[in-house]
Amino acid sequence: MERRGTAFSLARAATLDRMDVSRRFLGRDAVLGYLWVTPALLLLGTLIAYPFLLALYWSLTSRTAGAAGVFVGLDNFVYLLSGPIFQKTLRNTVVFTACSVAIKLVIGMAAALVLDQAFRGRNLARGVFLLPWIVPTSLSALAWLWIYDDIFGVISRLAMDLGLRREPIPFLSDSVLAMVAVILVNVWRGVSFFAVSFLAGMQSIPGDLYEAAEADGAGAGGRFWHVTLPGLKPIMAVATLFSVIWTFSDFTIVYIVTRGGPANSTHLLATLAYQTAIFGGKVGEGLAVSSFMFPLLLVVIFLQLHFLRRYQV
């Protein structure tokens, strides 16, 4: 400020003045705040909100790949709900999501308890355990497709080589086995998310709680039940909700491993929507299929925000 001397040229004063104005202007938090969230909001507006509304509207039309179609009200929904394929898909989605998430929760907890212990090579083991989560699902799903191959696949061949079975195992042509197969891939891929979340949660449980429990005579099981589990409750809620979203909207695994087959017995909402709209060209109907994700999405968002506020995790 002392430099504001007599030798100050007019021009320089003018620019400084302008800078001061812009400085005061931009210095106000509110303006800068709005300015800096604008790019994000523009992006989310044009590429999430707008297509989202478009989807809701088009799901009420008879739009196809070639024609804009006309407004048909709830016809697509009525048609879908009364048809066997969509009913099956809804059931599949529920079974797939419920089984996958439950199994991931249990194995994830077990894995966290194992990986939380002190042993040589623990960091390496943790890193290895993350691999299924980080490599491209499309590529690992291809490896699973090959594992499930009935003639050359490793499970079928080992079962026959070991004399457990005479015939190849028809993993992907049996409706129950195919569902088991895709659930297994989803568990393999997603379980480390639970384990890592639980591991992080375990670090935040104060050690004196364990000491107190031990002083009260609790064994390892008691300490897990009375200290670890309650301490992990908020993180379990948040992780489960994330996983529900990712699991029920899954596409890649089913698209690659079973293509929804055999006889639609593994179709999920996303794969059926893809098949209806892209292969079948029935865009309105396909959007009606995928719009069934919306109510569940709303519930999860609501619960997620509730937990985040309540626990401040």
């Binding site: 989310l44 989807a55 083991a125 490793v154 948040v238």
Partner: protein, 274 residues
Amino acid sequence: MKRAVLLWIPLLLLMLFTLFPFWWMIATSLKPDAELYDVRQPPLWVKSATLEHYRELFTRLPFVTWVKNSLMVATAATLLSLVIGALAGYSLARLRFRGATTLGTIIFAAYLVPTTLLFLPLAYVVRWLGLYNTPFALIVTYPTFLVPFCSWYLMGYFKSIPRELEECAMTDGCTRSGAFVRIVLPLATPGILSAAIFAFTFSWNEFIYALTFVQAPAYKTVPVGVVGQLATGDVLFWGKLMAAAVLGSIPIALIYSTVSGHFAAGMTAGALKG
């Protein structure tokens, strides 16, 4: 004995379950076809290893093109999202303005919207923008999930930087944006780096947008190229497929081995830090 039951046996099972598909992938990619499709050979072992499948990926298939496309799309989408996400994250973390909390909620909700719910109408928007069948279709749409992620992740990070540092800089004559660039960003470098790595991975692995928005063979990314070119039709060339799966996974696995420590926070999108 107790340690064996509580640690070593479950650990062994866990590692077998995790690594088995990778072993099967690698073993398959190294077997010559004659051994691969002969049920009298032991399935789990490689008798006469060959790099033939890998060689074919490079000489007879556009694998290099797919890698280039993936690299370009992932890098551009990551940089774009980091800039937009850092700006939004900083204003939500630090600047006081009306509606900031609501905006934070909106961005978090946007992170939860599954790509499989949006891909159909988004394909239309992409066409309308004239980007269909170009790499820009992906560079522009990947930020729909990367920007919410980066904003939330970096918001948590910015909050952990002491407010006093910026205030000092501003009393010394720095503007708010000056303080952000000179003080906050350098301090947040580790957070920005891990956000970049996550964003890069999400882009590298993305499947449904790449499958739907880009049909031109010249612009396909690795996942779609491999699935579309090698895994369609009745006869699948498993050796080449698995070689491609190995090569498509290695870069990501290598990057992660450097940052696996930050992983927990990143996977839950900063939500657990908020």
